[in-house]
């Protein structure tokens, strides 16, 4: 019976995405390719002194992006530090520096890792003016980088990658904002709260006093999901009934997360002038997503372990209103993208089940990945796959007519090197340096041993891959984890972006090689299989030992 439900829920999501991804994908291609500016956009450009029609080299594009992000980081940090003096702070004090840095980095990097409990830490102003704004902007940054990279692939011997300001403005105004408004209305319809109330105190049945929080939740929730951000308005995130009250709102949230990442391959195909290339990328993303979902659902339904057996189902840490399938689909969705939202506690999953959200992130979040970052991550993997495949057919490898030479493969390889290094180094430092280990084992970890290792590994994986999903069970609000994870987020976000834009610049400057029978076709099922294989093999080879010590050792106990 549960298998039927699992399939039905998935089927519904697939059906809706299948209907939407073509028009939305083409709409995004138009948004980023159109030479026309809206009046409000022109007004914005004039006000900021930007020439929207100037083409930028990859260096200038990157420079704009970094400057913009640095300002964002500073703004969110300042808002938190100055909270005590801000209106709408609900009487909350200033956030302490390491936590403020961690939170600023986290929302800037589209990660939304939350070392804090929002109800007890940030007031309405920080939530709305700081965090929600970054939810929009960090998503727009991811989209801009992806689009710039696609332009690199599609342009023929040009120096420019487009204009970063135009891409950011259009992504926000023409794409994220309208869909977010629509999403917020749907969520309101589903019963998500939307107000500016201070906490309401009620007395419970047992007579105890209980403070019920209020807030502009529906509007925050929509962009939290749509931008693959994931930072909850409340500590319980999407498990909280005010954020995600029922199965319908759960479905809306899942769709909001997946809608842009699964439509971007279409945008890519349209922009490079070969839709089947987009279909190929979509196929690889979908296959990995489906297999991951199937495995996670199987692991949870079979409920290995003493507690689930006794309870008659692996329901620990899951909400009754979502059930196992509503939880596993949500977990696969959020960790397969870079959404940190949870509607169940991954920490309480079965040992092998808990490994799957972790694996989704370790794959580099490419199935389908965060807004923008999923597409460029997958395209980088495609370039590496093409390099090996090209050699296998006796040609200097080329992707979409662009030769993958020394410079290209250097940048792509470094991209792949970044996150595993951050994850493994961060985890190793946490246990290898005695002082840090004391903090980790004394304060952070709830369950020492394999599970504790998995919790720390999960935290660094989540941060470096800009997911934000927490395994729970880990107290992350310590100076070491705040600083280390904040740094991991920034490096994990911006080093790849630098490499991706540099690569885009190189590719844009190349004139494409014409396609012949000797050209390796990159849309065939064979190549799709190879791309999926490269993705899985690279991840497996990198993380096998630590996974063996963590979830595998625990799961085979």
């Amino acid at each position: 019976m549960s298998v039927v439900w699992a399939t039905a829920a998935l089927g519904l999501v697939i059906l809706l995405l299948a209907a939407v991804h073509v028009p939305l994908g083409d709409y995004m291609a138009r948004v980023y390719s159109s030479p026309r500016h809206l009046r409000v956009e022109r007004w914005l450009y004039r006000a900021t002194g930007v020439n929207p029609d100037a083409e930028q080299s990859w260096r200038r594009y990157l420079g704009g992006l970094l400057a913009f992000s640095a300002l964002g980081l500073l703004a969110v940090y300042a808002l938190q530090r100055l909270q005590a003096w801000l209106p709408g702070s609900l009487g909350l004090p200033a956030v302490e520096p390491s936590l403020a840095f961690n939170t600023a980095a986290s929302f800037l990097g589209n990660t939304n890792w939350q070392s804090y409990s929002p109800e007890a830490t940030v007031g309405l102003t920080v939530q709305m003016a700081g965090l929600a704004v970054q939810n929009f902007l960090s998503a727009a940054v991811g989209l801009a980088v992806a689009i710039a990279f696609v332009r690199g692939l599609s342009r023929r011997g040009e120096a420019g990658l487009g204009n970063v300001w135009v891409d950011l403005v259009r992504g926000t105004l023409r794409l994220l904002l309208p869909i977010a408004v629509l999403g917020a209305l749907l969520l309101l319809l589903a019963g998500v709260i939307q107000n500016l109330n201070e906490p309401t105190t009620i007395s419970t049945l047992t007579g105890a006093a209980h403070a019920l929080p209020g807030g502009p939740v529906a509007s925050q929730e929509a962009i939290k999901m749509l931008g693959t951000n994931g930072g909850g308005f409340f500590n319980a995130n999407s498990a909280h009934p005010f954020e995600n009250p029922n199965a319908f709102s759960n479905l809306v949230q899942i769709l909001l997360v997946l809608i842009i990442p699964f439509s971007l391959p279409r945008t890519f195909g349209t922009m490079v002038g070969s839709r089947r290339q987009g279909v190929a990328i979509l196929a690889v993303m979908s296959s990995i997503f489906l297999v991951s979902y199937a495995l996670l659902t199987w692991a949870e339904l079979s409920g290995a372990g003493a507690a689930p057996q006794a309870a008659g189902g692996a329901m620990e840490g899951k909400e009754q209103r979502f059930g196992i399938i509503g939880s596993t689909l949500f977990a696969t969705t959020t960790t397969g993208t870079s959404t940190g939202a949870v509607n169940s506690m991954h920490d309480s999953y079965t040992a092998l089940g808990g490994a799957l959200p972790l694996l989704n992130m370790m794959l580099g979040e490419v199935a389908p990945g965060g807004v923008g970052s999923g597409l460029y991550g997958m395209l980088i993997l495609a370039i590496v796959a093409v390099f090996v495949a090209g050699l296998l057919v006796g040609r200097t490898p080329e992707y979409l007519g662009k030769r993958i030479g020394r410079g290209e493969i250097t940048l792509a390889s470094l991209y792949l090197l970044v996150t595993p290094t951050i994850v493994l180094l961060g985890t190793a430092l946490s246990f290898g340096v005695p002082a840090l280990r004391e903090s980790i084992e004394g304060t952070s970890i709830l369950n020492p041993g394999h599970h504790g290792l998995t919790e720390v590994l999960y935290a660094f994986t989540s941060a470096a891959n800009n997911n934000g999903s927490a395994f729970a069970g880990l107290t992350a609000n310590t100076p070491w984890l705040n600083w280390a994870l904040g740094l991991a987020i920034l490096l994990g976000r911006f080093l790849p972006i630098v490499l991706v834009l540099a690569l885009a610049g190189r590719l844009a400057a190349q004139r494409p090689v014409p396609v012949t029978a000797g050209t390796l076709p990159t849309h065939t099922p064979l190549f799709q299989g190879m791309l999926a294989g490269v993705t899985l093999l690279f991840t497996a080879l990198t993380y096998f030992p630590v996974l063996a010590l963590g979830p595998l050792a625990e799961g085979t106990l």
């Binding site: 050699l391 296998l392 006796g394």
Partner: protein
């Protein structure tokens, strides 16, 4: 899969290569790798262990560092307190791992040493030709200074004796019969036959003469007859032979762009695995005792792509070697790689697509003329025609003509039909130089005129004004053969204009043959009495070499466009192109047209390969991505190209492409194999590392290896032995099939990807069965 296989030297089943005297008898490379070759390469492999040389191969250098570290540890271990580790370590374990790591490095060096060793034999014999030769330089100053205009042959000039190593560019040297040419240069005066077997392996001497496209001579070759003046064009140490030596020895080998790109990817993988191993112990410390250092180093060595890194340079050297064995000299490794990427092939029609000359393929009688008469007239009219075209009419009559004509042709050829075959088979070189010593073709050409008088009257040679040739018979009648319009004019002039029916039939036939790209020749007769008539139309055509359409179809499947270059007019060119199956033609091509075509193709992102020999080909050769100069060509052409074909066979371009592709495929295949191997090694080592503390991880021991120590050692042994096992494949190259890219990918992924995943599971298990017999393992 029964795809056609493009001939390449690695695969056997190719036409026998000429035995190269320079190759030191090592003419069967594919079988040469026995224990003896490995043994012979061992000293060099040992010398390569020097860290100053090793660091250039970073992956192997890491293995060597690991070996050093473990050797030190093995020595120190008895004096250290036993450390608490997750894996039980038997005595001698560190020694065993260290020894096999040394073996891994050694095997990697061996691969390179064997590849280099195979070139060394060739280089040694080449070096002998470079031995000091005294050169006689024409003085340019002083009393006996050479004045070229007054004394072109330099007979009065003073000669200075100088060592060949002291020559400079511009020196003019005198070389006489029996002398070794002291350096590369151009003949500025005289003609000589030269023995170039030291370079080309071809024993027949060739003619070298001043001016024209055959003026280049190579240092180290020997003049057999006559006397020539040679202007030196390269400084000693940079001559053709010098370059050839450094090439076959691998000394001049620089990493090619693609090899560098692959190096980057391998270095990145190495870095990832370095991070994985370095962070393992700190992470493991949270749950268990640390991993023993020897196990950690073993894990690292097994994960980093040692297999491909060990074989990479051998693959490159062997690829170059395969070209050299095909008598092609690539002047840069980049060119070999570019050959694999070529998407447009420019092929000269003459010599590559067609035989050198037109040949008669039919004699068509005109209305009212019986076949016997028509054929006999055609033969008779051709008796005086000593060009290969004329000869071909005779040989056609001999094989296809009616009896009388056949007998006539037989008689005309002096009763030696074999001579006909010789005469037309020879290249243009023989025809242009009847006195050339290199073939009997000249003699065959002379045979016909001598038989002529015996048969008929006096020959009338072809002239540009009449555009006809033929015979004036003793009885006053005359036979003419020539272009339709010329022969008709000849008949008309004598008032013998053919009647309308015959005329229209003749014109139709001429038009038909022309439309097919052939050349029609009309044969007509005028009697002594003044009467005359047209008898037949001979169909001459360019004969396309056999097997070409299939070869071009293969090229098309590989995604390579072929363009035929010819001086012919468009119609003729198109017809031949259609017959040969080339994709496009460049008709009435001038050297400028060629250059423009190459630039246009390159602007579209295509890579162009071409062959050439003349000085006017030089710009195009230089512009092409792969420019193969013929060894018979001028030194300007040889300088401009990036490959030289010592056999001067333009059709070899196709093989060069296949070799280029084979080189890349071998690299890709072994990379894939190397990385795919890692999965099995993980399943051997990871459970072994932690099973002692977490017995549940035995579930990951899917191979059922007997003990943790044995599992680790077996993985290391497999990792080393697989290098040795793959050396022959690296040297031979992976078989290349001319099929579409996706098919090729599917096949190679299956063999090297899937095979690379499965093979080590089997291999490690087998090794484990042996290792487990050791005490303690």
């Amino acid at each position: 899969m029964s795809a056609p296989v493009i001939d390449s030297p690695a695969q056997g089943g190719v036409p026998p290569e000429p035995e190269r005297p320079t190759s030191g008898g090592d003419s069967q490379p594919q079988r040469a790798l026995g224990a003896r070759a490995l043994w012979a390469a061992l000293p060099l492999a040992l010398r390569k262990l020097d860290p100053r040389r090793m660091w250039r191969r970073p992956v192997l250098f890491i293995v060597e560092l690991g070996a050093l570290l473990l050797t030190a540890l093995a020595i120190a271990e008895p004096f250290l307190a036993p450390s608490e580790t997750a894996t039980p370590i038997p005595g001698g374990f560190t020694w065993a791992i260290a020894a096999w790591l040394w073996a891994t490095v050694l095997f990697g060096n061996l691969a390179e040493a064997v590849a280099e060793g195979r070139g060394k034999a060739q280089a040694d014999s080449l070096r002998k030709t470079r031995s000091e030769t005294p050169a006689r330089v024409l003085a340019t100053s002083g009393a006996g200074a050479w004045d070229r205009s007054a004394d072109p042959a330099g007979r009065r000039a003073t000669l200075e004796e100088r060592a060949s190593s002291a020559l400079t560019i511009g020196d003019v040297v005198l070389v006489e019969a029996g002398d070794v040419i002291p350096g590369d240069g151009d003949v500025v005066h005289g003609v000589a036959s030269v023995d170039e077997s030291a370079i080309t392996g071809e024993s027949a001497p060739v003619v070298r003469e001043a001016g024209g496209d055959r003026s280049a001579v190579t240092g180290g070759t020997r003049v057999l007859s006559d006397r020539i003046l040679v202007r030196i064009t390269s400084t000693p140490g940079q001559t053709f032979v010098d370059r050839m030596i450094s090439l076959v020895e691998g000394a001049a080998r620089r990493k090619t762009p693609n090899e560098v790109a692959l190096d980057v990817l391998l270095a990145t993988l190495t870095l990832v695995f370095l991070v994985v191993t370095l962070t393992l112990n700190p992470i493991a410390s949270s749950v268990s005792a640390p991993v023993h250092l020897a196990v950690l180093v073993a894990l690292l060595v097994c994960l980093i792509p040692t297999t491909i890194s060990a074989l990479l340079s051998a693959i490159g050297i062997a690829g170059m070697d395969r070209l050299v064995r095909r008598n092609v000299l690539a002047l840069s490794g980049r060119a070999v790689e570019a050959a694999g990427d070529v998407s447009t092939l420019l092929l000269d029609k003459t010599g590559t697509i067609t035989y050198g000359n037109r040949r008669a393929v039919g004699v068509n009688p005109l209305p009212g003329v019986d076949a016997d008469e028509a054929w006999s007239a055609a033969v008779e009219a051709s008796l005086a025609d000593t060009t290969p075209e004329g000869r071909s009419v005779l040989s056609l009559a001999l094989s296809d003509g009616p009896r009388t004509a056949s007998a006539l042709a037989h008689a005309a050829l002096g009763g030696t039909p074999a001579a006909v075959a010789l005469g037309e088979g020879a290249g243009t070189e023989a025809d242009a130089h009847p006195a050339a010593p290199e073939g009997a073709s000249g003699a065959a050409g002379d045979a016909a005129p001598s038989g002529l008088g015996r048969l008929t009257g006096s020959p009338v040679a072809f002239s540009a004004t009449t555009r006809m040739s033929g015979v004036d018979r003793r009885d006053g009648s005359a036979l003419r053969k020539g272009a339709g319009s010329a022969v008709l004019a000849w008949l008309d002039a004598a008032g013998n204009a053919p009647e309308a029916g015959v005329r229209s039939a003749l014109e139709a036939e001429v038009a038909r043959i022309s439309a097919q790209g052939g050349t029609p020749l009309v044969v007509a007769e005028q009697g002594a009495d003044g009467g005359g008539r047209a008898l037949a139309v001979i169909h001459l055509k360019d004969v396309v070499k056999t097997g070409l359409p299939q070869k071009f179809a293969q090229l098309r499947a590989m995604g390579i466009r072929t363009v035929m270059i010819t001086g012919d007019n468009e119609v003729t060119a198109r017809a031949i192109a259609a017959e040969a199956g080339v994709d496009d033609v460049l008709a009435e091509a001038t050297p400028e047209d060629k250059l423009a075509l190459i630039k246009q193709e390159q602007a579209g992102g295509r890579m162009v390969a071409m062959t050439g020999d003349g000085t006017n080909d030089a710009p195009a050769l230089a512009q092409a991505d792969v420019g193969v100069a013929m060894n018979t060509g001028t030194s300007a052409a040889k300088e401009a190209g990036n490959m030289v074909d010592l056999d001067s066979d333009p059709a070899k371009l196709i093989d060069i492409v296949a070799i280029g592709k084979q080189l890349l495929i071998t690299r890709g295949a072994l990379t894939t194999f190397s990385i795919a191997n890692d999965l099995a090694k993980y399943f051997a080592i990871v459970p072994a590392m932690f099973m002692g503390v977490f017995p549940q991880l035995a579930a990951l021991n899917v191979m059922g290896l007997s003990s943790p120590a044995s599992a680790v050692l077996s993985a290391v042994i497999f990792n080393a032995v697989v290098i040795l096992a793959l050396i022959p494949l690296a040297l031979r190259g992976v078989r290349y099939r001319a099929v579409a890219a996706s098919q090729l990918l599917g096949r190679n992924l299956l063999v090297f990807g899937l095979g690379g995943v499965i093979a080590p599971f089997v291999g490690i298990k087998l090794i484990d069965l042996v290792v487990s017999l050791l005490p303690g393992f």
